[in-house]
């Protein structure tokens, strides 16, 4: 029945216990990391500060060892580990055995803290040329956060708890959770959430040190960009998963779990912009510090407060309060502590100079205002009903209408201003000059919107406007690159050479903003989506947007561990067969609830989405069909945005401390 496995361990192997002990050692090292370097920084003792980097490496090593040990227990189906019994099954495919490690509370906590240790290790690795005191404080704060979570894991959520006698089979064979989207998206999200811990540590480090300047900004910038890029991808992945798995055809539901990831993203987006101002103009210091603290605080809230069930279900919280109280304590300590330190120490920081409103920095302040306001709107809409329920027991529903009424009015003007801000010069901008430079982009975007409106005359009015806005963002970015490389009378070759010689951060900015435009186009195009709900019999056809959908047959089928009733649908464009989808209802052995399996056909950048709502007696099925033109733009745009972030991150200047090369290879010859 079972294939023999080539790999074997002796009967006395103790990987699980070694992993458990590694976790304990990681805790001990995180405590060392918390206190010794901070003490050294406080007393300016370079020997003590020197402990920071090796301790951070060792902490990462042991955390990774613990994670590896748990993964091995999952892969080997070691059912003497309680966590494996509860969340795995010997007949799961290998990939899902591995992803099972973080698909549960204990394992996901371990992943979370391992990533935290990873970032501490990366900071230590890149920190060889950082000011020593700042590095010591930063790693101390990182160590303190890690210590809190190591302790939380060991005391309340230990993944290495054993069970004797060991059962021979696990309980975790939930087929719905076996999905690639669900397997990849938590690590991406965590890389984003936890990445902001570095910005937090830098902020607290700066407050403790009482010193913040452009150097600080340049050191913290790459970490923030990295976290932001991962969070962008994580959110996009989560959104796509919800889109194809939940079967509602929507891509964003303003669900608390989604909002929890959107809030740190908005704060983080504001942060990566304000850091630029600080780096260039030595201004917005206090604000940047506050944003750094807030971005990570919102990440913590996103990971724990919403998911711990503290607010969603007062009942489950009351029945097992240990974890909830512990988490609440951690949140209060770090968020409250960070903000208190901020209130106490921020006045110490020397403020930078004032600046003119019409300038790049002025535009970035505006960007920050809009983003923070949008973030506050999401925060209120997400937490207010939960808090109200916790306090009074009353239920109110804050749904899409609230967010559409608050979030959209804040984002649309912001998006309109993006190309303008991007084109403004530092210090003293020239609005008229910007208008001239952007006139072509604006005209083209407007023309695009009008053409789209003319073609789809009877469609919704907002959609062409949205397309125009997206085009404006893309063309505005292109025009920025063009204007920076073009001089009157220059030949095309010169322009291209100049464009290639532009700093990567300039390209990154343009790419990220263009990605935003791509997403906006995708969102706008959803207005042209077609939805049909129908009861069909075999042989019947109906129109779906530009296509005709025919139900060819309803057939029962057997899968590896489920029975399925599938509806075979053919999608035609006139006489041409475009493709087939086979949505179905599945009943897994051992589970009574049938699950829906959607059928998805990608045509260009649009998708035909079909799901079976009901199987009726007499062979007819209730189906839900969608045609979603250009829907892939939504997620494609997010990928482009993240790529822009990574490109900007790879900018030579981000590698501080590395010897500065005088000029880029493609530098422009004197004219």
């Amino acid at each position: 029945m079972r294939r023999p496995q080539p790999r074997s361990r002796g009967p006395d192997a103790m990987v699980v216990e070694v992993g458990h002990y590694a976790l304990v050692l990681a805790l001990a090292l995180s405590l060392v990391l918390t206190f010794i370097p901070a003490w050294g920084a406080h007393t300016r003792d370079s020997a003590l500060m020197g402990v920071a980097r090796p301790a951070a490496f060792a902490m990462l090593g042991f955390a990774a060892l613990a994670f590896l040990a748990l993964t091995i227990a999952y892969v080997d189906s070691d059912f003497s580990v309680l966590n494996v019994v509860q969340n795995s099954h010997s007949s799961k495919p290998l990939a899902y055995k591995i992803s099972g490690v973080w698909s549960n509370h204990e394992g996901s906590m371990l992943l979370w803290v391992t990533i935290l240790a990873l970032f501490a290790g990366l900071v230590a690795w890149r920190g060889a040329h950082m000011p020593q005191r700042l590095l010591a404080y930063v790693l101390s704060v990182q160590g303190a956060i890690a210590a809190a979570f190591f302790l939380f894991i060991l005391l309340t959520s230990n993944p290495f708890a054993r069970v004797m006698p060991a059962p021979f089979e696990g309980e975790g064979l939930n087929p719905i959770l076996q999905d690639p989207g669900l397997a990849i998206h938590p690590p991406l999200l965590y890389l984003g959430y936890v990445g902001f811990s570095v910005a937090f540590s830098f902020a607290v480090g700066a407050l403790l040190e009482g010193r913040i300047d452009a150097v600080w900004a340049r050191f913290v910038r790459p970490w923030t960009l990295l976290a932001w890029a991962f969070l962008t991808l994580g959110i996009a992945m989560g959104s796509y998963w919800a889109y194809y798995e939940l079967g509602w055809g929507g891509w964003w539901f303003w669900d608390p779990v989604e909002n929890a990831s959107l809030m740190p993203w908005l704060a983080g987006t504001a942060l990566i912009h304000s850091i630029v101002v600080m780096e260039k103009r030595d201004a917005l210091k206090v604000w940047t510090i506050l944003l750094s603290i807030l971005a990570f605080s919102l990440s913590l809230i996103g990971t724990f407060l919403v998911r711990s069930g503290v607010l969603t279900s007062v009942h489950s919280f009351a029945s097992d309060p240990t974890r909830g109280v512990f988490i609440l304590g951690i949140l209060i300590f770090f968020i409250g502590g960070g903000l208190t330190l901020f209130a106490w120490r921020a006045p110490v920081l020397r403020q930078g100079g004032l600046f003119a409103p019409i300038s790049r920095e002025g535009a970035l302040v505006l960007n920050n205002l809009f983003l923070s306001a949008a973030c506050a709107a999401v925060f209120i809409g997400t937490l207010y009903p939960l808090g109200l329920e916790a306090l009074t027991g009353g239920k109110i529903s804050v749904g899409a209408p609230f967010f559409e009424a608050t979030f959209l009015p804040l984002t649309v003007p912001l998006l309109l201003l993006v190309p303008v801000g991007q084109s403004l010069a530092w210090k003293r901008g020239d609005l008229l000059g910007v208008a001239q430079r952007l006139a072509a982009a604006f005209a083209l975007a407007l023309a695009g919107a009008i053409v789209v409106f003319a073609v789809t005359r009877r469609g919704p009015v907002a959609a062409p406007l949205g397309i125009g806005l997206g085009l404006w963002l893309i063309l505005g970015s292109a025009s920025e690159i063009f204007n920076r490389s073009h001089r009157a009378g220059a030949s095309l070759a010169v322009v291209l050479r100049r464009a290639a010689g532009l700093p990567r951060s300039a390209w990154g900015t343009a790419l990220a903003h263009a990605g935003l435009g791509v997403t906006v186009i995708g969102i706008a195009a959803t207005a042209w989506g077609v939805e049909r709900l129908a009861t069909m019999k075999a042989g019947e056809s109906l129109d779906l947007g530009p296509y005709q959908v025919t139900l060819e047959a309803v057939v029962p089928r057997n899968g590896p561990d489920y029975r399925e009733t599938a509806a075979l649908l053919a999608i035609r464009d006139g006489d041409r067969l475009v493709g087939r989808v086979e949505p179905g209802k599945r009943t897994f052995t051992g589970r009574s609830m049938p699950t829906s399996e959607a059928g998805l056909l990608t045509v260009g950048l649009g998708q035909v989405y079909a799901s079976v709502a009901e199987i009726e007696a007499g062979g007819s099925v209730g189906v839900r069909l969608y045609w979603k033109p250009w829907v892939l733009f939504i997620w494609l745009g997010a990928v482009v945005m993240a790529a822009g972030g990574v490109l900007s991150l790879s900018d030579r200047r981000a590698r501080v401390g590395a010897p500065v090369r005088r000029a880029a290879p493609a530098a422009v010859p004197a004219e």
Partner: protein, 371 residues
């Protein structure tokens, strides 16, 4: 034991990670901090020049920007002087070394000994199955069969095998489902119908329901001699209050039953209860066994175990024998003898690696010391 060595090595590595930087010669220059600042502002100046060269900023603006960056560069240099050199004292370093050398292992071991399970080895499923295959436990066998049936729900043979297992575990509803599936897939058979009926009776707490009776009727239609089915038909009659019919059916069965069969005594009781006269047992040996007292029966078993022990003492290469012997002593409540037999068996199987592995696996299962 090896675990503790590994844990000690890990602790050593962790301690070293803290001690090493403390002991390292301090080559840090006092101005390390300001040097980084200076490099940064110099890079910024260079960038402004580059931008001005490309005409991205006006010369006048470039000049102001350069002045500002230069001002910051000077400010950072001043700050570096004001802060004074970085210090390092032996006292603090010693305190930190004590923390690393004493505090770190102490904290780690205290926590681990509270939370950990150093006595429990890894139990990867594959290895457990390999080791336990010869004397697989019921639960394990069932898990395998269930897994197989989940993948191949139309394996009638599998359903037929799993049914009696369910029966013996008291999972009667599952048993009924399995037998019904076996009939559906493999077709009629007197034994399948009989088993199905039995499961149905068990599920109804011993009442022969109409469904069960249908099953037994179908079984008997295929093979009129089935003992169990006939017994349940008699029981059904008795439960219906048809004593005469029940008595005749029971008597018929009792007469046919071989002496000493467990069912025989039960049938005789039934016949007596219903007012009939039990037929005489036919075999003398059977009578002897039936009449044996509980204590005597125990003695007989002990005798068998002792003879097995003696046989193995002479000829020790019989793995099955050793397994049976160790198990028997445990069942008889004599762990001392079991441990002794285990040790002797291990010695006797010195040249038989797989045999010894199996014996040791049994030892672990039975928690025999020294395994």
């Amino acid at each position: 034991m090896t675990l503790w060595i590994v844990l000690a090595l890990m602790t050593g590595a962790a301690v070293l990670a803290v001690l090493w930087p403390l002991g390292r010669a301090q080559s840090q220059q006092p101005s390390a901090e300001t040097a980084t600042d200076a490099a940064f502002y110099k890079a910024q100046l260079a960038e402004i020049e580059r931008d001005a060269e490309r005409g991205l900023i006006e010369p006048s603006e470039a000049e102001t920007a350069k002045v500002e960056a230069a001002r910051r560069l000077l400010a950072s240099a001043r700050r570096g002087e004001a802060a004074g050199p970085l210090s390092a004292t032996a006292g603090r370093r010693r305190a930190a070394a004590v923390v690393a050398l004493v505090g770190l292992p102490l904290v780690s071991l205290t926590i681990y000994l509270t939370l950990g399970n150093p006595a429990i080895p890894d139990m990867p499923l594959q290895a457990r199955n390999d080791r336990a295959a010869p004397d697989m436990s019921m639960g394990q066998a069932l898990a395998r069969i269930e897994e197989h049936l989940a993948k191949n729900p139309n394996d009638g043979r599998g359903q037929e095998v799993v049914g009696p297992v369910y029966m013996s575990m008291g999972r009667f509803a599952d048993a009924e489902r399995a037998f019904a599936a076996a009939i559906r897939i493999l077709g009629d058979s007197p034994h399948r119908w009989e088993s199905l009926g039995e499961a149905q009776v068990a599920q109804a707490d011993g009442i022969v329901t109409a469904n069960a009776r249908t099953s037994f009727d179908k079984a008997l239609a295929l093979d009129a001699k089935l003992v169990k089915a006939r017994y349940y038909r008699a029981l059904a009659a008795e439960q219906d209050g048809d004593k005469a019919k029940a008595l005749s059916l029971y008597s018929e069965l009792a007469a046919e039953a071989p002496a000493g069969a467990p069912i025989k005594a039960r049938l005789d009781d039934k016949v007596a209860e219903l007012g009939g006269k039990p037929p005489q047992p036919s075999g003398e040996a059977a009578q002897a066994i039936a009449g044996m007292a509980a204590g005597d029966r125990m003695t007989a078993i002990r005798g068998m175990v002792a003879s097995l022990d003696a046989r193995l003492a002479e000829k020790g290469d019989d793995v099955e024998g050793w397994l049976r012997l160790v198990r028997s002593y445990m069942v008889l409540g004599e762990p001392e003898k079991a441990r002794d037999a285990f040790a002797r068996g291990r010695a006797a199987l010195a040249s038989d690696q797989t045999g010894r592995d199996r014996l040791e696996a049994l030892g672990r299962e039975l928690k025999i010391e020294g395994s």
